[in-house]
Amino acid sequence: MSDSAGTAPHYTRPLLPTPFHERARALSQVDSFVPWAGYTTVDVFTNAGQEYFAIRNACSVYDLTPMVKYRIAGPDAGRYLNRLVTRDLRKLRVNRVSYCVWCNDAGNIIDDGTVFRLGETEYRLCTAERQLDWLLDSAIGFDVQLSEVTEEIAALALQGPTSCAVLKKLGVTGIERLKPFEFSCFDATGMRLMISRTGFTGDLGYELWADPRQANQLWDALMTAGRSRGIRAIGSRALNMARIEAGFLMPNIDFVSAEGTVRVGTSRSPLELGLGWLVDFDKGHFTGRRALQEQMRQGLQRQLIGLDIAGNKPAANALLYADRKGQREIGSVTSAMWSPTCKRNIALAMVDAPHFAMGTTMWAEVYLSRELVWERRMCKAQVVDKPFFAPERRRVTPPGDF
């Protein structure tokens, strides 16, 4: 794969290798790759459980390159983005990052992502899915230049309690002063790196943005620097565990982009997804504002909430009921797992009003295979606070040396 993947035509090999593919390929023990935004990426290197503990116990490296990146520049770039997303970006300073969502006119989410302010009139938008079409249409009336730069930037997520220490060892001087949602450029071991204190794990961590030509050099340097700090390459399975604990949403798992839905009533608003804190009605107009205000006024019909479920079997895709007999259906689980760190059976779920209120109890219909003998269990579940796991270290500056 490593030799032909880069040059083979798209009709024989539709997925592209990332700049880190050669290194990842070499470390992959179980040959488990999955497609992500047109690239082939590692799902599991060796064992998802052990990879997960690298995130929570030491330091993990995750190839983030397929994250779709857009460069947005021009005199109206700030105004453009502020009208696009629901959050107030006027306050976003240079060298800061903001987590945002954006909606269609009906107030339903198209995607979430991060906005990096690179300069006075230059931004970078990172998203999980491609949306050049939407972004260009949104540029009508604004003096902005928009281009996709995904292939020009190699990216790695370095996450876990020892991540700061590893970067220090790599020679990134001053990294300990970087605050959450801040980024800066550094020179280390002959490379120019942009590093942001961001991530998808809810833990202490950083994201490294580099020239793809230096991908191998960066990977090797990190692995060497982190050897004594338990550094480990992880796949998306382990990352997914961490993000559920952190209460982060995954497109196409916890919601479907309103641009992609074909059925009526399957799109979700940020309010319904529990992201009301990202919606700022005071900042002026933005796409979807009127619909969201109307939704605020009428009250929510459903909301995404966190659940704590009895037993230890993950309630993946379980239907939820108000009663134990399972006669009144009130929603369904979107993401579920046994949390190894919290020692709780947790889930994210979309639940109808009024059952999404904190503390409400309900019943999850869980199917269990006992050596292929299937059993149906009604498991008691309770609406609880998210995130399920939020260690202090994610915020502390300078981070301690764990």
Partner: protein, 534 residues
């Protein structure tokens, strides 16, 4: 149930796929059914014939998608040998030598379109989404009898409420989209999604197939949808081959019909539908034989049925005027070609599967519109739009090993030439135009040709019985759809003559090898007889 003087409960005129579908449903409900077919072979426009050695041609229709799965299932067509195999791929070869291919794999497709426009590569998802949204709306309407909006019969009101409720569930915004979709030109419609000429040209093809309209004519966007609303095994918009050619569809239907007691007579052209006291009582064949039946279903189009097969004195003048005004202009030709080997297409890179699907050579909307201009002038297009497939790459039964069968659908070709009547020389010249068009993209193509069947709209009328050669038994324009198909007041398969029903593509929901008109007609008959459909 048959009265003494009646030999059958029902006669079906025409063994096209819709006639056979209707016959199957009636026979399954316990009626004695006789199908009468003019030609020595059955199938109408869904037929497979061997005209040259061991090559099998899908002489008319050539790809399958629209055939309703509920019909295949109820009539047990797979048990009677029907198999539909999806194909992937498809491409448009450009005049300058480039190409655009379509691939099943989403990432391959995105990268392919991105070679022409990065933006279009992503706009394609929005396009596909909107097509699926509209298909979801239209699909439930296919297997229903369209309501008469002026009637106060409970069933009509119920159906109108269904239609209304259906619209309602769409949500306000999508309702606007639906109306735009049903009335726009494909060129305007595609401009709302794509910037690249080649992408637009490729997508526009299905919107002009079989129409007497150009890509800039309002109403063509709907025709695209008409070609999208089928599915294969739940993949919306997917097209495939019937194993053994499109005749496999009618062959399986015939077997299913015979298994439930129905009979088919070929070489039995109906000359007259017999009418007594405003009621059809049977038919008379060309040789004078009369066959009596309580019910008559006509698989012929509405014009052929009422202008040629029923005594005018039995119908009102107003009705006949509407029948005469029904638009059924033919615009398509067809070539079926036996090839000594697989032709090469230098524009397509080696290893690309895109030649296994539908191939085209029209790379701009402008070129398509110019092809239409020729038709308006009463000539076949000098640079025609072609929909070209080589089914033998996928279906091994179509040609001897190592040889290939190519199906070429041609748009536009007139029914009446400005230069005078069609004759053998003109047909030959039309065929040569198409062959030269293909040869421009395939240097070895001509040398591989063993045999070619060339069919003009004039031939389609004479050989298949499609008036003016219109492939859909009537144009698919909004004025002739739903409760206006074929004509207002005659849209529920029933006719002004009691006991006479229409069951062909001339009725809702229209043309294509879909089976829905036949199934809906049978349901209308059974409802009138107060029998339940199975």
């Amino acid at each position: 149930m048959t009265r003494e003087s009646e030999q059958y409960d029902a006669i079906v005129i025409g063994a096209g796929h819709n006639g056979l579908v209707a016959a199957c449903y009636l026979a399954r409900a316990g009626l004695s059914v006789q199908v009468l077919e003019r030609n020595p072979h059955i199938g109408g426009a869904a037929v497979s014939r061997q005209l040259y050695q061991n090559f099998t041609y899908s002489n008319c229709s050539y790809v399958c998608s629209l055939l309703r799965p509920e019909i295949m299932r109820t009539l047990e067509l797979p048990r009677f040998g029907l198999q539909i195999i999806p194909y992937d791929g498809g491409c448009t070869m450009m005049q300058g030598g480039g190409h655009l291919a379509l691939y099943d794999n989403h990432d391959a497709l995105r990268r392919e379109i991105a070679r022409h426009s990065k933006r279009d590569a992503e706009a394609y998802d929005r396009f596909a989404r909107d097509m699926i949204r509209q298909c979801k709306f239209i699909k439930p309407l296919l297997m229903r009898e369209p309501p008469d909006p002026t009637s106060f019969k409970p069933r009509d009101i119920r159906e109108l409420l269904y239609l209304g409720g259906h619209f309602n569930r769409l949500g306000e915004e999508r309702m606007y989209d639906t109306l735009r979709f049903w009335t726009m030109s494909i060129a305007d419609f595609l401009d709302e999604y794509f910037e690249s000429e080649i992408v637009k040209a490729h997508m526009a093809g299905s919107a002009i197939i079989g129409t007497a309209l150009g890509p800039r004519s309002p109403g063509t966007a709907y025709v695209l949808l008409h070609h999208y609303m089928g599915d294969i095994d739940d993949t919306v918009g997917a097209w495939g081959f019937a194993r053994g050619g499109m005749g496999a569809v009618t062959k399986a239907l015939a077997a299913s019909l015979q298994a439930s007691g129905g009979t088919i007579r070929a070489s039995a052209p109906v000359e007259r539908i017999l009418v007594r006291n405003g009621r059809s009582v049977g038919v008379a064949l060309a040789d004078g034989e009369e066959i009596k039946a309580r019910l008559v279903l006509s698989n012929m189009d509405v014009k052929r049925t009422f202008l040629e097969t029923v005594e005018a004195s039995e119908l009102s003048g107003d009705f006949l005027r509407r029948v005469r005004n029904f638009k059924i202009r033919g615009s398509s030709g067809k070539l079926n070609i036996a090839l000594d080997g697989l032709p090469t297409f230098p524009a397509i890179p080696a290893g690309s599967p895109s030649t296994r699907g539908d191939m085209h050579v029209t790379d701009t909307i402008e070129m398509m519109e110019r092809a239409y201009d020729d038709w308006k002038d009463g000539a076949w297009s000098r640079a025609p739009y072609i929909d070209m497939l080589i089914p033998s790459q996928i279906d091994p039964t179509m040609a001897p090993d190592g040889k290939h069968y190519m199906s070429v659908f041609v748009q536009y070709c007139p029914y009446q030439l400005a230069s005078g009547p069609w004759d053998a020389a003109k047909r030959q010249a039309f065929g040569d135009t198409v062959i030269d068009t293909i040869a421009r993209h395939s240097p070895d193509f001509k040398s591989l040709i063993l045999h070619a069947e060339v069919r003009t709209p004039f031939d389609l009328e004479n050989e298949v019985g499609l008036t003016e050669g219109n492939i859909f038994q009537g144009e698919l324009t909004f004025d002739q759809l739903l409760f206006n198909r074929p004509i207002p007041g005659c849209a529920q398969y029933r006719t002004p003559l009691r006991g006479l029903y229409l069951c062909g593509s001339t009725t809702h929901p229209g043309g294509g090898v879909m089976g829905a008109p036949g199934a809906n007609a049978a349901r209308a008959v059974l409802r009138d007889l107060r029998l339940a459909a199975t």
